[in-house]
């Protein structure tokens, strides 16, 4: 297993999470001790053990391909921080 050192700045970028320098420092220390604790999983031999993603084994749950009622357009936009012309307004993404 990897060493118990997190590059908090890099991981925060991956998570799209702006942190203050104080938060980075505090999180680094706390996560170091949590990861140290988590290292104990390495003690276990899991050779040949299948991973469990879900406790209840359901696979390929599908529905018939039919149009069903869904959230009305206005309701879907109702909580938008910025909207206009029936759309969400976002900063310019492409030049």
């Amino acid at each position: 297993m990897a060493s118990a050192e997190i590059d908090v700045k890099y991981v925060a970028h991956l998570a799209r999470l702006a942190l203050s320098p104080e938060e980075e420092k505090q999180l680094g220390a706390q996560l170091g001790s949590i990861l140290g604790y988590i290292e104990k999983l390495r003690e276990l031999d899991v050779t040949g053990v299948e991973p469990t993603a879900h406790a209840v084994p359901l696979v390929n749950v599908t529905r018939t391909d039919e149009v069903r009622p869904s959230l009305p357009h206005d309701a879907a936009l109702g909580n938008a921080p910025q909207k206009g012309g029936g759309l969400f307004i976002v900063p310019k993404i492409v030049e």
Binding site: M1, L17, Y37, K40, L41, R42, V49
Partner: protein
């Protein structure tokens, strides 16, 4: 006092027209006005809307009611993580801003169809991440038995509101113990159904493979009633399971002779408080008197559950919480650059514990670490699940303390996340294994007087037997009838 009664007691009085739904609702609102300044179980509530629902219920009752409306006129309050149409939904976070739900969660739709008065937004740890309800952007909730102490978490408001008789029952959610732990610390009944028993549609996701909705009630019969109403497969949640839904109250016969209860030796750990241990030992002796057979069992991977949980739950949370980016709903911190907009919005909107878990979850899923942490944890999860399935080959239920100690003081563990995580040590395995669990009151500490919870764990979709076993104990004891002095 009407607000102190159970669903079954009130349903009988309402059906006989001895009391009105308006009087019951008003009694709850009066109690909130009297005590919630001290407890702060509610983030908000709409009294006029609750009374309007009560009047609708009274009209239906005047016409004789309907046999399929087992909750007609019963006020039930809701954890701030479940969508109730046109009501605020904040997950006790700043990031959702002035969000109002455009639809009902399936569990809420079913409560309403059964006639319940659905009201109030109950406080919780932000995004259900925590064990004390101290991680709320809306302030602390206090334990009704001692207001210097925490009510447990993450569904601390749901437990405190029922314990303080501010509602007749409430809903919460349980990802690693968030129903059972606060129920134990506040002295009420808390049920976490089997994963897949109740649809998660309209429950804001924390860790999708672990989350379940469940009830807080004043007795086991009420938990059975609410489970019967809310269970069942739902086309809008593909992880809900098409198992038949029985009338769970029919299982409450009081007769548990010959049933086998397992005591896992791994749960008798050093950190277990002496009074908690004594109360659980006494409960086990009570079960012997009731004719159950007690057997020692082993769950060998118990010691790895907390570490496994904090990898899987944070990994899933980091993915689920990616949706809170300031684009489609909630608060936004503006920027001309979209990536910066996401980062600033999330940096300003999320609290410290949520940030900690997003960073940990992102890290264990990141390139180079995924196999070492996440995949390893999923494999250990298999071992933990297999421990339970093997135990259930010989026993009908497993008996443990719900928590290692009674309620701790506010602030006592908030500076040390790992110590806080370890307070969930007895409840976490149940979610990883996908079994069902319940906490029922089993005694009190002496000084101060604080509730102690007994946890019973049952087979997947074995809620009927689990409730039968919990109910038989409750019938033989009076712990659940004690009230906090407020």
């Amino acid at each position: 006092m009407l607000n102190q009664l159970t669903i079954s007691e009130l349903a009988a009085k309402l059906a006989r027209r001895e009391v009105s739904a308006r009087a019951v609702t008003q009694a709850c609102l009066d109690q909130i006005a009297r005590v919630d300044g001290k407890i702060h179980a509610f983030i908000s509530y709409d009294a006029a809307d609750a009374l309007a629902q009560a009047d609708t219920a009274d009209k239906a009752l005047a016409q004789g009611g309907r046999s399929d409306q087992s909750l007609l006129g019963i006020p039930i309050a809701i954890k701030d993580v479940l969508a109730v149409k046109n009501q605020p939904l904040n997950c006790a976070s700043k990031i959702l801003g002035n969000f109002r739900s455009p639809y009902d969660a399936t569990a809420i739709e079913k409560l309403k169809a059964a006639g319940a008065i659905v009201f109030g937004r109950l406080n919780m740890d932000e995004f259900a991440m925590g064990s004390s309800t101290e991680n709320s952007a809306f302030g602390l909730t206090r334990n009704p038995w001692d207001t210097t102490r925490i009510p447990g978490g993450s569904s601390g408001g749901s437990a405190a509101a029922v314990a303080a008789d501010e509602c007749i029952a409430s809903l919460g959610s349980d990802t690693g113990g968030s129903i059972r732990q606060p129920a134990a610390l506040c002295g009420c009944v808390g049920l976490k159904p089997t994963y897949g028993r109740i649809s998660r549609y309209g429950l804001v996701a924390f860790a999708s493979s672990l989350d379940q909705i469940g009830p807080f009630t004043k007795d086991v019969r009420d938990a059975a009633t609410l489970l019967s109403v809310m269970s069942g497969v739902d086309p809008r949640d593909s992880t809900s399971v098409p198992e038949p839904v029985p009338d769970y109250t029919a299982a409450l016969t009081g007769d548990i002779r010959g049933l086998k209860l397992g005591l896992p030796k791994e749960y008798m750990i050093g950190g277990l408080d002496a009074e908690v241990k004594a109360a659980v030992d006494a409960a086990v002796r009570q079960y012997e008197k009731l004719g159950a057979e007690i057997v020692e069992i082993t769950l060998p991977h118990t010691d790895y559950a907390v570490a496994t949980y904090y990898i899987i739950a944070t990994a899933e949370a980091s993915a689920n919480l990616a949706r809170f980016d300031g684009i489609r709903y909630g608060a936004r911190v503006d920027s001309n650059d979209p990536i910066e907009l996401y980062a600033r919005t999330r940096g300003a909107g999320f609290g410290a514990e949520v940030k900690r878990r997003i960073i940990l979850g992102t890290y264990v899923l990141s390139s180079g670490y995924h196999d070492a942490y996440y995949l390893q944890a999923q494999k250990v999860r298999t071992l933990i699940r297999n421990d339970f399935l093997k135990a259930f080959e010989t026993v009908d239920a497993i008996v443990t303390p719900t928590t290692p100690t009674a309620a701790f003081k506010a602030g006592e563990k908030s500076g040390d996340p790992l110590q806080m995580y370890l307070s969930d040590i007895f409840t976490i395995s149940c979610n990883l294994a996908g079994v069902c669990g319940i906490s029922v009151p089993c005694g009190f500490t002496k000084n101060p007087k604080l509730p102690i919870g007994l946890q019973l764990l049952g087979k997947p979709f074995g809620e009927a037997v689990l409730l039968k076993i919990a109910h038989a104990y409750e019938q033989a004891t009076a712990w659940h009838q004690e009230k906090a002095v407020l």
